[in-house]
Symmetry: C2
Subunit: 416 residues, 2 copies
């Protein structure tokens, strides 16, 4: 990664979240922390929502003489002793320098880089629990797919995190099915990171703690609804390696997980949201037996509408080439329309002649599809703007979901 | 299609070629000729390379009392009486206004629109047979996928046709698996058509034949090798509807075959060539069992290199958005990497641990893959330009084919 210079301090990393994607990312981050000792502290913290698990008799970890195999145990104890999240990422050995921590506040303490990877409905609550309890100059990376859309506008999860915590937060998204990444099957991902310019010569709070309040950069951020927010960021002390694109690549890039770091946070986040809506249409078309040409046509129109959505609602703050060139754009769209769960459930709903809610119930074990939720949210937003007709595929997906259009009508509706 | 005005003459259409894609396109064109009687003559000619076929006893056309079922028959007779190309597009009923003609010269006589749809190795020979025997103001559309690449440069098949015949020729390409189009499964396609500006008020040769030589537009064309050619085009007589984007859409667009007409002939043609090379890499990766993330990564890098190839070697004469927005670009890439034959044979070569030549032999009945041929041609061209390293995926495919690189090396080689 080139010379990062001799810095006196190293970055401490915490992964907030430990589901299957959380653990897959924590594995990568811990592997890289161990292999880049000049930049990162070896031990990586992972916050785990504590629950009881039991090592079953057919598990490779089962040993009748071990206290860990005597009835229900704490998930964190099993992870720390067996180096496996047997509940959410079974079969994958986690690095021994990854420490499962049941205390959220303890896990994030003193960390300079916080990696957020938890279901989006828990973001606000989790951030509020650690507000004021993290380093004020910490930086965040959100691995949470998608955006938060409502009638008023579109908000990036990275912005929500950054606002609550008063830190800068970038985003990671890409063509990444968690189980494949965990198995170290080769894939690519995009990191978007573009903090406002800060004086890298800012003194360390260790050496001159009284000046730390001067290391604040205030910048204005205008979201799509026109809402202006003022964000104050504290500069990273100069005895840490600066958190730049090179350091982020050192932290996330692996031989099996290729990272491109870009600056377009909105594009990377938006791609991860809209592709789920397109995947529903691809699943329906595939379920109808219309073949590969038709599915490719849906994906082409979907990509066009993603670019148009970005241009229209994010203007110059987005780089539309993110959609056509980065893993978080076209590649994630392709993966999601090949075997993602929005695609699969939509396809099943046609094959079984069931509503998509019914398929969700039987296939997803109580979880909800992200695509159906996003389709409704995006439609509310487009309707309020009077722009439904300009996004015929996004609109068609919503109408099929609400029952006012049939799948057979999609080709002629999106033709214009 | 809006009002095209009351023209005294109608366009006569000939399809040159009658393989499975030739017949699928001829079916579309004949359907549209019948439903647009103000613009097109109803009868559409299709040149068929004559051969003997036999209607088998289990055919739906078998009738022991019919003379057509007494031993080998001319393919054209079977098509004209049974309205089916039983050899190359079995099971599909062709329109009754489509006339199979074994005489190439007779088939193209007096036609104003010539649709070329035959294997590319026959283009030059076929065009030379009809040179000087077609209307001098005819227009062509090439449905032949790909481009002709050699060390000296890249030539579009549409240009080759246009040069030999002295006419303007556009191109049709898209995410179109012929059998699915023939079954009227919904798909999209791109037509690229951008003739030099001509005076539409040119007098008809019927009314003032002596002035016909004045209706010539001479324009210069510089190909990628820097070779300059002067092309003389004769204006279409004004008593025909002008051959513009609207007329081409009337001729090719069907409810199940959606056409977008653009001006970028080079982009549309190049997409159809390079995607076959990418499909080989996608097939290998899939054969390795690397999963959907990896396949999507290959397609993303492939799309990037297609855009870069266009920018680098066609400059301002290409619109790179063709690759990311049109059916002939990203959608055709997706279809070809899902189930196209380059993809399938590459995948089988890994699964069976056989060379791709061996798979070709056993799977393609003597035919050769387009992707392997294009990969070699493109590599010769890039090598001569000293630019192999700038197109790592295209180069990696060539090297795997020649045996100097293994599929396992592709991810790290294309990473840079």
């Amino acid at each position: 990664m080139g010379s990062l210079g001799p810095y006196q301090r190293k970055h401490k990393i915490t992964v907030v979240g430990s589901g299957n994607w959380g653990c897959a990312i924590a594995k990568i981050v811990a592997e890289n922390a161990a292999s880049n000792p000049a930049i990162f502290e070896e031990k990586v913290e992972m916050w785990v929502f504590e629950e009881k698990v039991e090592i079953s008799k057919d598990s490779r970890h089962y040993d009748p003489s071990s206290p860990l195999c005597q009835g229900p145990q704490n998930l964190t104890d099993v992870i720390n002793q067996k180096h496996e999240n047997i509940k959410y990422l079974p079969g994958i050995t986690l690095p021994s320098n990854l420490h499962a921590n049941p205390s959220l506040v303890d896990a994030v303490k003193d960390s300079t880089i916080l990696v957020f990877n938890l279901p989006h409905q828990f973001i606000i609550k989790t951030c509020e629990q650690i507000k004021g309890k993290i380093l004020p100059y910490a930086r965040g990376i959100s691995c949470i797919k998608g955006v938060d859309v409502n009638e008023e506008g579109i908000h990036l999860f990275s912005e929500t995190i950054g606002k609550i915590l008063g830190i800068y937060c970038g985003a990671l998204s890409g063509a990444n099915i968690a189980s494949e990444v965990a198995l170290e099957k080769w894939s690519e991902s995009s990191i978007a990171y573009d903090p406002p310019h800060m004086d890298s010569k800012a003194p360390s709070p260790n050496r001159s703690p009284s000046t730390s309040t001067e290391n604040l950069v205030q910048f204005e951020h205008k979201d799509v609804s026109g809402q202006l927010s003022r964000v104050k960021l504290q500069a990273l002390p100069s005895d840490y390696p600066p958190v730049d694109h090179a350091v982020l690549k050192s932290l996330f890039h692996r031989p099996y997980f290729h990272i491109r770091v870009v600056s377009d946070v909105a594009g990377v986040s938006l791609g991860g949201a809209l592709k789920n809506v397109v995947a529903l249409a691809a699943g329906w078309v595939d379920g109808m037996g219309w073949g590969d040409n038709a599915k490719a046509a849906i994906m082409r129109v979907g990509l066009l509408e993603m670019v148009k959505f970005g241009e229209k609602f994010f203007g110059a703050t987005i780089n539309t080439r993110t959609f056509t060139e980065e893993s978080a754009g076209v590649a994630d769209l392709i993966t999601s329309c090949s075997g993602g769960r929005n695609f699969r459930c939509a396809k099943l709903s046609i094959e079984r002649k069931q509503s998509i809610e019914k398929v969700e119930e039987t296939e997803l074990n109580g979880q909800k599809l992200q695509g159906t939720l996003t389709a409704v949210e995006v439609n509310n937003f487009l309707k309020k703007q009077g722009l439904e007709e300009e996004f015929p595929l996004l609109t068609a997906v919503y109408r099929v979901l609400e029952g006012s259009m049939s799948v057979e009508d999609i080709p002629s509706y999106i033709e214009r």
